[in-house]
Amino acid sequence: MLKGLTVLFFVQWLGTAVGLLAVPMLPGPILGMLLLLGWLMARGEISQPIDTAASGLLQYLPLLLVVPAVGIIDSGDLLLDDLPIIATALVLSLLVTVPLCGWLMQRMINRAESRGERRP
């Protein structure tokens, strides 16, 4: 666990460094994820410590999101001013795009698979 966590922190640090030096639009952790993916692809396997640390952390991803989410209470006034507009825009657009993305992707997967399995 400790070894894996060290790797994850180190890669996040690298990602932050890359972000500061080259792509300030992207946050360090996202760049770190891309770096780790590249590293795993280069090595061709996931080492046990990385696997342990990653699955341990990802299991609690929802918990980690609670702290920033509570920040909603600080922008209450800004939000309340335009609440009807914002709520309508968010809910309506999600009502369309959540099923649309899933439907489109599923349709293309099914098509790709029926093409791939044409042999008798």
């Binding site: 989410a69 825009a89 999600l94 795009t97 099923p99 790709a112």
Partner: protein, 239 residues
């Protein structure tokens, strides 16, 4: 609370209180979510509401809570990096489905931005609100940067990002059932594109393949918004 003595206040303001509050609230939310079987009760949403309620009653500022609970939030960085593991495990499937992924992202990703802006505009939203709404489907740090550059309000965008994730994720299972979308890859990609990290957390609950494609959808959507939205908004404003 106003009659609480100094010791009580010290205990309330102790960093451990914020951490314990978050842990208790999350476990209670998880329990309610599993017991009720009601998918709208997303643990993140429920735990957030519980914590916010306690902060309000105990008169604790968010800034103080955030600082005390920072050891928990701190792990969000390495957890994001860790998403590379499920991505790597599903790399074969991602390569195989490269074009469907690109098409879904291009169509779904741009439609969610366009629809949101169109509806808000038709209802009479002002420009700062529109610019805060535009990047709401990206993960928070990306969205806040883009909003600021486009003339939006970063703190409002942070809230909109959260709301998008929570609402999209809560409605997801229901909308997928309605649309007969059972494929874990398709569900995952949609969770990631529409609900970023909160959607990804939910997708990981459904399975590793679903989670991997959610992580992919979230990252690609983040890249799309970070790279293209400033260009499009810039062209729209000054062109």
């Amino acid at each position: 609370m106003t009659t609480a003595n100094g010791t009580m206040r010290l205990l309330i303001d102790h960093p451990l209180s914020a951490i314990l509050l978050t842990l208790f609230a999350f476990q209670l939310a998880l329990l309610l979510y599993r017991r009720s079987g009601w998918l709208l009760l997303q643990p993140v949403m429920l735990a957030t509401a519980l914590v916010a309620g306690v902060l309000w009653v105990a008169e604790i500022e968010y800034a103080n809570y955030r600082e005390s609970a920072s050891p928990i939030a701190f792990l969000l960085g390495p957890a994001t990096v860790a998403l590379a593991v499920p991505l790597y495990r599903n790399l074969g499937r991602i390569r195989q489905l490269f074009w469907p992924i690109v098409v879904t992202l291009a169509v779904g990703g741009s439609l969610t931005v366009i629809l949101t802006l169109l509806i808000a505009h038709l209802m009479g939203a002002e420009l700062p609100v529109l610019m805060s709404l535009a990047p709401k489907s990206a993960t928070m740090p990306i969205a806040m940067l883009v909003a600021e550059q486009a003339g939006g309000i970063a703190s409002l965008t942070a809230v909109l990002v959260m709301l998008t994730g929570v609402i999209g994720t809560a409605m997801g299972p229901w909308l997928f059932r309605l649309g007969g979308i059972g494929d874990p890859v398709a569900r995952g990609l949609s969770y990631g594109i529409n609900g970023h990290a909160i959607g990804t957390a939910r997708a990981l609950e459904e399975g590793e393949e679903c989670g991997a494609f959610a992580a992919l959808g979230m990252s690609l959507m983040g890249l799309l918004i970070a790279m293209l939205l400033p260009l499009v908004l810039g062209a729209g404003l000054f062109g």
